[in-house]
Amino acid sequence: MTGVSRRGLVGGGVAAAGLAAGAYAAGRSTAADGAPHPDARVEYAFRGAHQAGITTPAQDRLHFAAFDVTTDSRDELIALLTAWTAAADRMTRGLPAGEIGPTQGSINLPPDDTGEAIGLDAGGLTITFGFGPTLFRDDDGKDRFGLADRQPKALRTLPHFPADVLDPDKSYGDLCVQACADDPQVAVHAIRNLARIGFGTVAVRWSQLGFGRTSTTSTAQSTPRNLFGFKDGTANIKSQEKKDVEKHVWVAPGADAQADWLAGGSYLVARRINMHIEIWDRQSLGDQEDFIGRTKDTGAPLSGGTEFTEPDFDMPGSTGPVIAEDAHVRLVHPDFNNGARMLRRGYNFVDGSNPLGGLDAGLFFIAYVTDPDTHFIPIQNTMAKHDAMMEYLKVTGSALFAVPPGIGPGEYVGQSLFA
């Protein structure tokens, strides 16, 4: 079984989900012991109406990088995006980043692919690009690349939220690249090669590794658990919910007069949320469940049923509603946030331990929304002020990017912005 035809996948993750499952099944059928066939590849097309890596079924691994642009030249910036497009297109097909490859070139030259992915297939790799507010205007408001009049209204530095203790070395950035794959080596390989291609034009500002997807973007996936041990993102948007994806994820044409280039794109909110793991682990099971508003076992809301039963926020309990007023599930629910929903594709992270011996760990939150002003900022403020779970969280990184729409053949990523 070779890879699924990428042409068949244009259009993004919805089609891909079915095809990927098909590829997997086909692989299995040829494996004598019933184990997944080692050649059962998953590939997602790089080009399409929307960028891949948003509604694509969430892969298990992440390497996310934010870059600062170091050049003043618009042409160099465009050249970089063109080069990145070519490399990303190749790598998502399981090919080397460069045309020559890791071992085929001149003995006297460094290879144009770093080589750690030799022998690995595409691994379900998706590469998603975004533009930060500082690409349009610098801190003094100066237009950097003649793009200022096209800066989306909602694209600006996120406000300070209560419990934000931001590390500037883990926040912000002019550009972002999200690489998701089923194999961590594939994701790291992608960022490493893109960074290499970019040196001289961009510099890595920060990057984040993630494992254990903490959200589900497809109904075919089971809900994973975050590092608090709870199912996470049960009620978030799945790619199959097409109407909600249109309404809450993609920027509609005409939504922002000065940034029509963003139509078909989205906004990416990245938040590095440290969890006070050790302190959380000392909370009683009952308290943990009350903070979240769901059972730890099945993820059912405390108002009963199973994981996907809609919570009943009015159901009385012994002291107030059975789902507490400060329960996480209540405060972030669309019913209390003007119907706003998010498409999330966050990941757990553990960056070793901190100087006090605690895990430097938490959730690298990524949400794709149609407008952060309606779909993130008010919800985050509510959560920061009232959510019982906040006691165990500290946000150490934050960034907002505008994610351009997908591209057709011959185009480079973000071309609509520079057109």
């Binding site: 203790v165 000392r282 009952g286 405390l302 100087p355 006090l356 920061a384």
Partner: protein
């Protein structure tokens, strides 16, 4: 932690001997000993799998097959005394209730919708070799613990009012050196009862918010606002408060402290709330004090640290006679670990109080953090111990 004492005044005292509840799990073969009872609560029925069990540790697996939240009770022979209870079982959910039950006659009761007397049935616990030992003094121990804790909180609150009064007077008068000296001392009384003080969701942010806790445009008041004004060295381009502004913030703090004091007078506690409060105070140490984040401007974190530990220890010591009966090993561990932590704090005591946080070496901070972890882990068992 979740403001556990908020509802203190509203709750009936949880009876000692009562219960610990958890998610229903597989019986793991327990049913073989005849002490595992399955209970199915519907909107109009309460099916209990057996009406008779031998004395010892009895496990009720309560499943709610009804359409509203239910509760399950084991009541004494008078039909009034609650021996054990499990609350807030949502539809289609299950909870486990573990009871250490001596021989006697009881009632079981499901309460669908949490209304009325519940659907009751007779329940008998027969004599067995596993009879739990019951001391006649148990209720006495509980009553003493509750009374002592209540008195402690009131006493700390009184001192908080007095010291804050003195502090705001010095601050308003511009006697900054004296105000700086008094600041951590006054806060000691706040920090000793912090889990009680925090339970008032309206007062806590006005009184104890740090600058990072605010959202843009939100007004910052309270202890830490004044702290920044008294220790502005770290602040960039800081404009000192005018005497009028000082008076405004000082009077506001005093007003809120006075309100807190009034509210504290009416509070009653339960043993599990005291235990949770002890755990919560150590949590405060771990999340804010041992990291030096609480007193960002003044670096007087160790005063707060000590005060949190004081409050936690007083809570534990009040409960200790109970824990010594239910879990003597835990009582011993906690006693030792409190002493170990105190030893480290004693080493940082100075003539005027404590070492400032920014003068601690990384090794000293690490040792303190390790001792906090060592104490906090067993302390998280305290609530279950006083309820078992």
């Amino acid at each position: 932690m979740r403001k556990p004492l908020l509802v203190a005044a509203l709750l009936v005292t949880t009876p000692f001997f009562a219960a610990c509840t958890e998610n229903a799990k597989d019986d793991g073969g327990k049913s073989a000993d005849g002490r595992s009872v399955s209970v199915t609560s519907t909107d109009d029925e309460c099916k209990v799998s057996t009406a008779k069990v031998p004395a010892g540790t009895v496990t009720f697996n309560v499943t709610n097959d009804g359409s509203q939240v239910t509760e399950f009770y084991l009541l004494g022979d008078d039909g009034l005394r609650i021996v054990a209870e499990v609350e807030n079982v949502g539809p289609q959910l299950s909870r486990q209730l573990v009871v250490n039950a001596p021989a006697g006659t009881y009632f079981t009761a499901c309460k669908p919708g949490m209304k009325g007397d519940g659907i009751r049935a007779d329940f008998t616990v027969t004599k067995s070799g596993d009879e739990p030992t019951v001391s006649a003094d148990d209720q006495q121990l509980v009553d003493t613990a509750l009374a002592n804790y209540s008195a402690y909180v009131q006493d700390q609150s009184d001192q908080l009012v007095a010291k804050t009064q003195e502090f705001v007077k010095l601050y308003k008068a511009g006697d900054d050196d004296a105000a700086r000296t008094l600041y951590p001392e006054a806060r000691t009384h706040w920090e000793r009862i912090e889990t009680v003080a925090e339970s008032f969701g309206d007062l806590d942010p006005k009184t104890d918010a740090r600058e990072a806790d605010l959202e843009p445009g939100e007004k910052w008041t309270g202890w830490h606002r004044i702290e920044k004004d008294l220790w502005p060295e770290l602040a960039k381009n800081y404009t000192p408060l005018t005497p009028q502004q000082r008076a405004t913030y000082a009077d506001d703090l005093m007003k809120n402290i006075t309100t807190l004091d009034t509210r504290v007078q009416g509070l009653d506690y339960t043993v599990d709330q005291i235990a949770n409060g002890s755990r919560g105070l150590l949590e405060e140490v771990a999340s804010g004090k041992v990291t030096g984040e609480e007193e960002y401007w003044s670096h007087t974190d160790l005063w707060d640290f000590q005060a949190n530990v004081d409050g936690a220890r007083v809570g534990f010591e009040g409960l200790k006679p109970i824990v010594e009966q239910t879990n003597p090993a835990l009582a011993k561990t906690l006693t030792t670990r409190f002493a170990d932590l105190q030893k480290l704090l004693d080493a940082q005591k100075t003539a005027t109080g404590f070492t400032f946080y920014d003068d601690l070496t990384p090794d000293e901070v690490q040792d303190l953090a390790n001792a906090v972890n060592a104490l906090s882990e067993p302390l998280s068992q305290l609530t279950a111990a006083v309820l078992s």
